[in-house]
Point group: C2
């Protein structure tokens, strides 16, 4: 079995191999600390051994729940969640689906997310869509009171109960929530929903391999065993027993921190396969929330190439020299299209005739890396053998482990997100939520 | 008729009103220069008077072409183009469509883009999708030899000719290309395609109001007259006769340049309505390609809030203080969803009962602006009365005009994109394109 591979040779014109190697001691120390739970944020390290600790019983439970739901021949599964309760499943499902899956009805239902925004049009149009469809709902919320998903679920719950009656609606709703506390746990108990537990020690952005991600991924028809297996293999390959030189998560953490020290303030995650668009969104949450604090942190950004070579390409080639790129390079694609010969050859493309389209894509990738390096943009290359459940599992754990180590190198707590509360507090004050009377007074004063 | 409005009061804690006002002379000079074509890039200023110079005859031609194509009851219209030949139409169509338009067959065809990437999976899956569908193709390319669209069109042309026969295929293909030169013009003449002209003096990223954007938008069922009217009204409102104080394009240009001078290196375009996601992608090309050069330029980024408050929100609130935000705020949404009362009130949301969802969204928006300003992120507010053809037209021209002025303030040529060639040259060398023998030798040497 191949593994994902890291290559940062094209960053070494900007930082030295020695400077990367100098991270060895701290990288190994921080990796060990993640396993021994000795440093900051140690209440939220359940993800570290998660892949190797998932039980067969749990996997079967998820699989059977998905099977039971799918037996209802759903057209659509609505997954209600925000942040980590949205991006992990979305990333995996999009990566594994056809680019045009929305247009075709397959065996599995379309997975549509809700409660990840407060757009009235979005919710109204979703309700309209659902009217004529067979559907079910997965509601994901630790507390059950996060505004966005709670609001969407309040509306959608009424609709599904109206459509199917309360009993059958209850059979079509799955709740992923706290083991014992909170509004959603209480509701699920009262209504008799099938439930799954969000572990206390796994933060949202690290939760894709918990039921938070697994239920939706299984319902979309994908193999969660392979996903977990990939993560488990990467867990082994990045364990504290593996020395720095052989640990790609530690190496990636070191390289990006050294580039940051060198003035590279923006990391652009690059793909050449548009199915990975949401994988980059998941990655942005992982790194942005873990590292963007105390006035520090690399700004995470992403592009879909070659599309965005025709939008962001100019800036990346010649704008401020504060960028570096991390490329997700997919070795083998799933389909085959060979460039046909054309007698007239008006488009001058006959030199490509007989080649696969992916060969052209690969040369765009290599040509771009060389051009950007020449333009002053260091390049990190992450080679992924193919887009499959197994390698997505590897990739997820690779980025998670690297993120933990990298956040410790940056000397922040990578496992909190204190800044996310600020807008919520203001929003509640503006909406005059009971309990926020003091804040309401203050904010109204401020807005005068 | 209301207009879009600019408010930068929440940037004034970071820069002063006086510093903004000090841009008056240059802003007015540069605005005049755009109209009189006296400064850099003056070969590409056709967009400046474009809205007011579009003839009734041209509009009717576009409308009739769309009607004729739609009479064929297309399921799908494939639009082949990259960069400006992709993002403008995509931005407008997405903004005006249901969030779930992919899942429902309406009167107009689904517009699917191709040739904006080199993904073999994307092209293969598109071909598969098209097999069972009624479809037509719009191919957009000035030269007809840009690799991405030319490659996709070479494959799709063979398919459509196989499906419908050469004659009927020719009736289903529209070419948007150079008036007289180039491979696509020649092909269109030979095959008898209906054609439209890409003006010589309008660059790709400024081309959405030429046939490059208009054909696809009209075929998707939207009102191009209103779009053009909005742009025309904004053209008048930002003309050189309008003084700096009243010219929102000039003001926006001044504020963002002053923030940049003040160390704000990243501009985040924010929306609270996910339909505007691709409008931000269009904006990123407009500003990134126009300003990202000579080692300068604000890095354009974008987020969909409140979704991304749960991913990028932490960084924006507490990361490096080098950001500012520009918010696209939609005053009136199209649909109505009222938060229902719930007797049990487990989710504690009854304080919102009776409110519209959009009221909650608006308080999220205001609460976030206040929180981010408190956290050190200046905020620019662009209020848009609603998402409609007319206001999208206003918004497009507003950003274009501001971009021209802003680029001159930055002392770059805002109308070239020399950096986009670098990857292409390498790619051709690696693919051993005839004519690139010397580059092929060099690059192979380099890769040894």
């Amino acid at each position: 079995m191949e593994n994902i591979a890291l290559n940062f040779n094209r960053a070494l014109g900007f930082i030295s191999q020695e400077s990367v190697d100098s991270y060895k001691t701290q990288a190994e120390k921080y990796n060990l600390a993640l396993h021994e739970k000795t440093l900051r944020g140690n209440d939220f390290l359940g993800w570290v051994n998660l892949p190797s600790s998932i039980s067969e019983e749990h996997i079967v439970d998820v699989e059977n729940t998905a099977k039971k739901l799918l037996a209802k021949k759903l057209d659509i599964l609505v997954v209600v969640g925000i942040g980590g309760s949205y991006l992990g499943a979305k990333a995996v499902i999009d990566a594994l689906s056809s680019n045009f899956s929305n247009f075709v009805k397959g065996d599995a239902p379309h997975v549509i997310f809700a409660g990840q925004n407060i757009s009235e049009d979005y919710l109204a149009e979703l309700r309209q869509l659902l009217q004529g469809k067979e559907y079910g709902i997965v509601i994901i919320s630790k507390s059950g009171t996060t505004t966005e998903p709670a609001l969407a679920f309040r509306v959608l719950k009424k609709d599904i109960e109206e459509k199917y009656g309360k009993d059958e609606a209850g059979n079509r709703i799955i709740a992923v929530t706290d083991a014992s506390k909170g509004a959603l746990r209480q509701l699920a108990t009262e209504e008799g929903y099938k439930t799954f537990v969000i572990p206390d020690d796994v933060g949202g952005r690290f939760s894709v391999l918990t039921p938070v991600g697994l239920i939706a991924i299984a319902c979309a028809g994908f193999d969660i065993r392979q996903l977990i297996q990939g993560a488990k293999d990467m867990e082994a390959q990045t364990s504290p027993e593996v020395k720095f030189e052989d640990n790609i998560a530690a190496q990636y953490a070191a390289v990006r921190n050294e580039l940051y020290k060198d003035g590279k303030k923006i990391e652009i995650l690059v793909n050449y396969n548009p199915k990975l668009h949401y994988f980059a969104e998941w990655w942005k949450q992982l790194y942005g929330e873990s590292e963007g604090k105390e006035g520090k942190g690399i700004y995470p950004s992403s592009v879909d190439f070659s599309s965005d070579l025709h939008s962001m390409g100019q800036y990346i080639q010649e704008g401020e020299r504060t960028l570096f790129e991390t490329v997700l390079s997919i070795k083998n694609v799933d389909n085959t299209v060979v460039v046909p010969n054309d007698e007239a050859n008006l488009d001058n493309l006959n030199f490509l005739a007989g080649k696969r389209v992916d060969e052209v894509n690969k040369m765009a990738e290599l040509g771009t890396a060389l051009a950007h390096v020449d333009g002053g943009v260091p390049n990190i290359h992450v080679e992924v053998p193919q887009i499959s459940e197994y390698y997505l599992g590897q990739l997820i754990y690779f980025f998670e482990k690297a993120c933990g180590i990298s956040g410790y190198m940056l000397e922040v707590n990578p496992f909190n997100q204190p800044g996310v509360e600020a807008y919520k507090k203001n929003m509640f004050a503006l909406l005059e939520k009971p309990g926020f009377e003091e804040e309401t007074k203050k904010i109204k004063e401020k807005l005068k």
